[in-house]
Amino acid sequence: MAYVATRGGERAIEQSQRLFKAEMGAITPERVAELRAALPYLIDRVMGEASLYDEDLAALALAQTGGEMYEAALLLRAWRTTQPRLQVAQPVTQDALFTHRRISAAFKDIPGGQVLGPTLDYSHRILATEVLTGDTHTPAPVEPAAKPSPARQPSVAAWQAENGLLDPAVPDQTLGNDIPDVTREPLLFPAKRAHTLQSLARAETGGALALGYAAQRGYGQAHPTVNELRLAEAEIVVEHPRGTRFSAGRVKISQAEVVDKKGAGLRLGFSATMGWNEVKVIAAATLDLNAPGAPKGAPTEEEFFLYHTEGVEASGFCIHFKLPHYVTFQSSLDAMRDAKAKAAAQQAQPAEADATEHPTTEPAQ
């Protein structure tokens, strides 16, 4: 028999997976623990894009995919799909965040103070090559400040609103299951506010950066000032069936407020995500700031940036072009060959061809 039905394909995919996994060797609990400890910012990025906060699962996803970030995010999101929704936590307010880092570019100093926190911003980017020749690079110990900065601070926007510089955001009172959830309902436009913020929180970092950067370079109308960037931990407060509220733990979050200063007052753009990912929230807040009134098809239009920063969808579609497309290709070749033949025939007999090719605009009924 000339055809080998089904068996060939199944063997091929099985072996190709083995080949991929063989390069990485055994995945041990130790490897997962080491990834979690050594790469917190990568873990954060994956958790944010997966919209699933679990450092162990994120480390496992990275171990299982060999650090293929898109695969890791997909793996976590697919796992997330299978999980029951036990509770919707209470809303997190900015002034209740346990703050590690909080800076504002808008003022020299802000109520509560500029808190530099953990950052590489002012580091000199020099590779510690001595590690490769056998030395251990041990970070110098942190010297605690004489006076610790307050753990909880209001937002800079709150001060601006108090001073009439900014229209205060009206808190959305929707709670619990009534909050629109972009993972449980389709994203339609104009998007619900919750959907926009959720989509930006799940956005792929590189995608958000590319479009946010385009907006910052001038493809957007608003030029952002970082009003406040904050890295913090948020309490996850849930309700016991008997009514008691309690904290189920803390998650790392990052959030950015950016403002535009062109109008009569300041205008705010906002983004927050799980995990610490400054680049993403600044870029995403820039997009949020630029969205109102953006022309259709501009990178700052909500539909444009929400669709195109969705990393799992974008990467999936991009790699789907590897799939066989020989049927569609054949279909196009057929049209192309026929058009060529027609053109050749027309060249041979120009007068006759002219008479046969006269379509009308009337559609067939």
Partner: protein
């Protein structure tokens, strides 16, 4: 109040992968899609353990329909043995325990990418087509909100204009696969990237066709006995690929959609794209008792 009354037994994975609420949403949207043929219904589209763009939309519909007695067939480019078809078939069988088949006649549910089998589907069969881009208007309007408004207004003028321009420029409509088609006289839909050869198989068919785009989160349907008319002008008739005269070098079949296989000497040979039809034809030649069903095309011509 007890904890047991508030929770259900934990399952490592729901039957058919999707949880009950995901299935209910797809059920509700599918019912609406069937009721407004060709109209794209938005749905949440859960993330499934397969990359977006690889059949996740079809997969979610199949996962919703499947039960342990559903006999499933999965094809990609017409072939059961394509790696992606094998992967999806294995996943569906694994999460449902459903039996699989390669025989179109035996299947209850056929999930397909880019082809409709050559054997006629019956009125008890469901065809699930994977859809990369559900929006036929995208070439003329990439913005989904505007395109949706155009559907609402049945504003297909730019679509017609595009086809007209192709005819003026190239002497024919250059659309290869995904030929835009008017469903039930109201909505222009994409039939998914099936070749033009396959589009007439949807017109007044006996089976139910569900078209699902997981990445784009849209689902549309062609119920049985529903008009599906490719957009054509009165004087430039719809043309399927000129495959009627080609012969499969393996099975000897003629008059079906073929894969072209380029040869080192500059020529091409062909093999039938519907791989199981090819297998059955070979078996029959070898004298095995094989049932080949009635085909849509007879002697290379679409039958009634």
């Amino acid at each position: 109040m007890t904890l047991a009354s508030l929770t259900r037994d934990w399952e490592p994975m729901a039957y058919g992968f999707l949880d009950a609420s995901a299935k209910r949403e797809i059920r509700r949207k599918t019912l609406k899609a069937i009721s407004v043929p060709g109209c794209q219904m938005p749905y949440a589209s859960r993330e499934v353990p397969m990359a977006r763009g690889w059949g996740t939309g079809g997969l979610q519909v199949s996962c919703t329909l499947i039960n342990p007695t559903t006999r499933i067939k999965v094809i990609d480019q017409g072939a059961d043995d394509s790696v992606n078809a094998a992967s999806i078939r294995r996943f569906l069988a694994r999460v449902s325990g459903a039996p699989t088949t390669t025989d179109t006649l035996e299947a209850d549910l056929i999930q397909s990418r880019h082809r409709i089998p050559e054997e006629r589907l019956r009125e008890d069969q469901v065809l699930v087509l994977q859809v990369p881009n559900p929006e036929p208007l995208r070439p003329v309007q990439p913005n989904m909100s505007i395109a949706r408004q155009m559907h609402a207004d049945a504003d297909y003028g730019r679509m017609w204009l595009q086809l007209y321009e192709q005819i003026v420029r190239a002497g024919r409509v250059m659309q290869g696969a995904s030929y835009p088609s008017l469903v039930n006289g109201r909505f222009v839909m994409t039939p998914s990237p099936i070749p033009r050869w396959d589009v007439p198989k949807l017109h007044m068919a006996k089976h139910l066709t569900l078209l699902s785009a997981g990445r784009e989160k849209r689902l549309h349907a062609v119920p049985p006995f529903t008009k599906v008319e490719p957009l054509v002008f009165d004087d430039v008739p719809y043309k399927v690929e000129e495959h009627a005269h080609l012969m499969c070098h393996r099975s000897g079949l003629k008059g079906f959609f073929m894969n072209e296989i380029p040869q080192a000497d500059g020529t091409s040979i062909h093999e039938v794209s519907d791989s199981d039809l090819g297998v059955k034809a070979i078996h029959r030649t070898e004298g095995a008792p094989v049932e080949i069903g009635a085909t849509w095309y007879e002697n290379g011509e679409m039958g009634q």
